[in-house]
């Protein structure tokens, strides 16, 4: 008489099912990495603060009205043209830079602008002032900010390529990974100081 084994339930495909579920969850879950346009607010000025007098030509005025239209330096403009206009303004280099920590920065020798005396003196003097209406859409406001930042990063990138033969983003990345590297730090600071981001938000208009 032949001995019979009790038949075992085949659990081999169980793993397949579990794997399928696992992969499904892995794919569908979005580990949403938060990213955004970062901005450093200025500190609250003391009550007796007198704003410094700035020459008109060193201010690049951007106005956004409640219909999300742009007025740049008194002229209507499309958002797509804003970057180039801002770039031209920052990179003008028509005069001498401001005195930083007792050291005069002198004329901008890395600027490639027109050097017109109607536009900014030096990147470290060039101020971009954004004024919007309270009813402006946030989406438009952020697009404007983004375009202005793009102008700065293009200039920084150009300078970085010229001086160190690497794009600025890579330079920053390298510095982030290796914070103790003095050489990298100096380079990043140098570029940032050459084209400092000065974007100020003016009091919004209402009604």
């Amino acid at each position: 008489m032949a001995r019979r084994d009790t038949p075992e339930i085949n659990a081999g495909s169980m793993a397949d099912i579990a794997f399928l579920l696992l992969i499904f969850f892995l794919v569908t879950t979005t580990m949403n990495v938060d990213s955004g346009v970062s901005k450093k607010l200025s500190e609250k000025p003391p009550p007796d603060y007198v704003p410094p007098i700035i020459k008109e030509k060193n201010i690049f005025e951007v106005n956004i009205n409640r219909n999300n239209e742009l007025l740049v330096e008194g002229e209507r403009m499309e958002i797509k043209d804003l970057k180039d206009a801002a770039l031209k303004f920052i990179d003008n280099g028509g005069g001498i830079g401001k005195v930083e920590e007792g050291v005069a920065t002198g004329p901008c020798n890395y600027c490639k602008g027109e050097r017109s005396d109607k536009s900014s003196d030096h990147p470290n003097k060039a101020i971009i002032s954004v004024q919007s209406d309270r009813l402006t859409e946030y989406g438009t406001y952020l697009r404007v900010q983004n375009e202005l930042l793009r102008a700065y990063s293009e200039l920084r990138n150009r300078l970085s390529m010229e001086r160190y033969k690497v794009p600025f983003a890579e330079l920053e990345e390298a510095y982030k990974e290796n914070r103790d590297n003095e050489g990298l730090k100096r380079r990043v600071e140098d570029i940032k100081k050459s084209y400092p981001q000065i974007i100020s938000d003016a009091e919004p208009t209402s009604n």
Binding site: A11, A15, L21, T29, E137, Y138, Y141, R143, P204
Partner: protein, 156 residues
């Protein structure tokens, strides 16, 4: 010798009975961890504006998020896109300082200067609301700000 050969015939199958257990463990891990965080949204999921110059937010524990958008219960809060959500509630800009101070109390003193506020606002929100929040943030010296945006590098 013949006895020896006989034994070799039946190849023992590798026991894979424990494999599903391992995989299920992984599965549960992912299921649980992915639902843990993310506060309940009282506003409709904000349609973030797109930007190219975005930076990643590091150190999740040092980020406090303020949502701005349209309320999920319009009969109670109206149709406008300017409702502010702090923690789990719809709030006003006046409550922002308390929110920030509360968030600060949860981290060590040394880390406070690195705290970032992330504003997740709908693209149809008004700049006025954002500026109100910003003024309140400045009052409590929370100066690091990030306007949450989806990365759209490549186009435009």
């Amino acid at each position: 010798m013949s006895k020896f050969r006989k034994k070799k015939k039946g190849m023992p199958a590798v026991n894979t009975a424990a494999l599903p257990d391992i995989v299920f463990m992984l599965l549960f891990f992912f299921m649980v961890t992915t639902t843990m965080r993310e506060t309940d949204l009282r506003i409709e999921n904000p349609r973030l504006p797109a930007a190219t110059e975005v930076k990643k937010l590091e150190h999740k524990s040092l980020v406090s998020t303020i949502y701005v958008g349209k309320s999920k219960t319009p009969e109670k809060h109206g149709q406008s896109f300017n409702r502010i959500q702090l923690n789990d509630k719809i709030a006003t800009a006046d409550q922002v300082p308390a929110f920030i101070i509360n968030a600060r109390s949860k981290v060590s003193e040394a880390e406070v200067p690195f705290m970032t506020t992330s504003i997740k606002a709908d693209r149809e929100a008004n700049v006025g609301t954002i500026i109100d929040i910003r003024l309140k943030l400045r009052d409590v010296n929370a100066l690091k700000l990030s306007y949450s945006a989806s990365n759209s590098s490549g186009d435009n």
